[in-house]
Amino acid sequence: MLKSLNFSELFKNAKTAIDNRVRIITAGLSIIELRALLRGDPPTEKPNPRYKVHVTSFMFHIRPKFYQQASTIFTHTWRLGFFTVFFLALEIVTGLILMIFYTPTPAEAYNSILSLTSNIPFGKLMRDLHRLGAEGMVIFSVLHMLRTFLTGSYKKERSFTWLTGVVLLLVTLGLSFTGYLLPWDQLAYWAVTIGTSMAEAAPLFGNEINLLLRGAPDIGAGGLLRFYLLHIVLLPGIVVWMLSIHYYKVAREHSISLPAKYDREDLPKEITKKAKQRLDLLPDLLTHEVFLTTVGLFITILLTAFFYEAPLENIANPQQTPLDTKAPWYFWWLQGMLKMGDKTLMGIILPTIIFGILFAVPYIDRNPHREAHKRPLAIAIGLLATLTLVVLSYMGLPEYGIETPAAARIIQDLAPEEGLGELRAIPYDQLQPGVYEVNVTDAENMCPDLLWGCPILESVFVEYSDRVNEAAEEGKLPDAEAVLVIEEWQADLTKVTPRIIWSDGESGDRKSYEQHIFLHRDHDRDH
């Protein structure tokens, strides 16, 4: 009976069977071929099985067969487009996980975020990753656009790719903005209130657009649900649609542009030949992408684990407008523009024109040359526009162009209504009860009862004194008297009262401004 068993035959059959399964899963690659791929060896079969997958696999048919060597030079693309997509993928994965724990109602939304950070393992990491990824996606898509502009890669056949790219930039901004409201904290609520109030300024249909967005005259349950659905359904849908067009054009139709210098006709043949050498998807491009992904994951996870924390302010309060309301940084330029003119012109008409021009860039710029020195005007305009964007963003900061009364400004900077501020960063034990008077109390050795003193309280007090004295010298706070009162209010709760009293310039009356800030011992984190 044993004789009838032919082991070598059996092994051979099993091997063939396994190999066949592997070929089905890998869309045509054998085990030996897989091994060769990973080792960087040449193809083991003919015809090259590494091209077969582009026909037999859906995931690979949308990928490029190869890119030309010079078009993948790092300093040409900087991998900006790749990392934009990397962040998009990160957003989708973390977003889906966050959806499990999030309830889009005003009563529950904020609690969802609280319990995410205090009750769900890795919940805070997911939220931080999602927030960081959102900012990364905005940064990288803008840089990607800038790169494409500077290398002149939007010209001729790539015009439409540029256009879909601008749509993607708009939708990315929309995704960030709609996501901004979801935690339902003060920061979000007021930034979005201001943002949507711009829609109100739109000519003809302003009020209707505003109502459609907010679901009511003010942002409430309806508005939150609308923003949520925009954020998780409509806008991601548009991104997938537009990205499919954008990417397919790059990967399958026009490929990545070659650096402009290879366009020159008088180049030696060897150089052109080398530049146009093929880099196949398997294994070169794919390995590189996987490698970049590990770099991206490493950096984002490192940042979120140790350095980056998504902000969360107090719960949204429609009755209380914070002194400084600030849009997300990528909208500061818009806020800066709004300070220069009326809402309809600066908030609606001009941005529409700006994006209109962005869309039309390839159709306006008919200069066929791509090299920078042959299109000085375009490069100059591009750099000027970037500079304008930076300046406008600076003008959008609350510090610029808004006059807050001196006393309120000083105390608000010391202890902002929302956010940390210097006062809240003082370790609890250093908040020694006492009445500390500016120009009277010696800022050294303010806490004789403490073994190590209270250096941070002292430095904050010095800063406070300096600001008051400065304002007094400038004539903004004549005859200023300022105190910092620290009282124990309850067990583990301290009340801090900065108070400034000054003479009003016109009437000579004594005016006073103060804030009451309560600080609990457990407020200290990571100190």
Binding site: G40, P121, F291, A305, V435, V485, A491, T497, D522, R525
Partner: protein
């Protein structure tokens, strides 16, 4: 080593390192979450303290010490140890505070000691019942009030310094001293003065400096105001009940009474 091999090599190291970071984060999650639980509780108390100062101090006192003849203390041992038994409350103290703040109180449970600010004795605060506060805000108030337990039962002794409000002696202006008294003595719980207080039980005092002069013939504004504080029943304003403290003048010195009158005269 080819570029592909180098990338595979470096990529594998990066994956391992990233994995270790995640592992590190994972090991610390329990501790971090506990820290955030404490942190969020602390924030609740801080927010509650702010709300108390804006909404409750007019009747319950700056530090919840209560105002005799108006509203009871919330920071004493009786409140923490005996109060819920006294009223026969079934649940815990936190529920009791949230329920009382939310619905207010139609009638005082201790009318002799703390008759409250009229009818209702305590207004409703929850927006569910027409009040101004949301549920989460009332929860923060409860967290803040409960935090008085340690000092109420004597477990913790607070360092006392002169009040954070400028003391009456410090203020040279009698009107400013009067404002201080107005806020500290419970007047603000029942009376409204635009920009200063919002009480709705007694007459609005925003322009009392003017109206007081025309109220009773033969009385100057100052005489009328002094009379009304010392003997509230003398000239009851039409439409208002007799709710004001009868013995208020006994609790303040003559100088303080002068200041209060000066402050009221300045309201015009």
């Amino acid at each position: 080593m080819s570029r592909v091999q180098l990338e595979i090599f470096l990529g594998s190291i990066l994956i391992a390192v990233t994995g270790f970071i995640l592992l590190y984060v994972g090991f610390n999650e329990e501790k971090r979450m506990e820290e955030f639980v404490r942190y969020q509780a602390a924030q609740k108390i801080e927010v509650g303290a702010q709300l108390f100062e804006i909404n409750c101090r007019g009747c319950h006192g700056l530090r919840g010490e209560g105002i005799p003849g108006l509203a009871p203390p919330l920071n004493d041992a009786h409140f923490f140890q005996a109060r819920i038994a006294e009223v026969g409350w079934q649940g815990g103290l936190e529920d009791y505070i949230i329920a009382t703040v939310s619905t207010g109180r139609q009638v005082s449970t201790r009318p002799d000691l703390y008759p409250g600010a009229g009818s209702p004795a305590m207004p409703t605060w929850s927006d569910e019942f027409g009040g101004p506060l949301r549920k989460d805000q009332i929860e923060t108030l409860a967290a803040f009030i409960l935090n008085w337990e340690a000092t109420a039962t004597g477990d913790v002794e607070l360092v006392q310094i002169p009040s954070s409000e400028p003391s009456a002696e410090e203020l040279a202006d009698p009107v400013a001293r009067g404002l201080l008294l107005y806020n500290q003595s419970g007047c603000a719980g029942c009376h409204a003065i635009e920009g200063i207080s919002v009480g709705a039980v007694g007459p609005n005092l925003t322009t009392v400096g003017d109206t007081a002069a025309t109220r009773i013939e033969g009385y100057s504004a100052e005489e009328y105001l002094r009379e009304s504080i010392v003997n509230p029943l003398a000239y009851l304003v039409e439409g208002y009940d007799d709710l004001m403290l009868k013995n208020f003048a006994d609790t303040v010195s003559d100088a303080e009474l002068d200041d209060l009158v000066a402050f009221l005269l300045a309201q015009r």
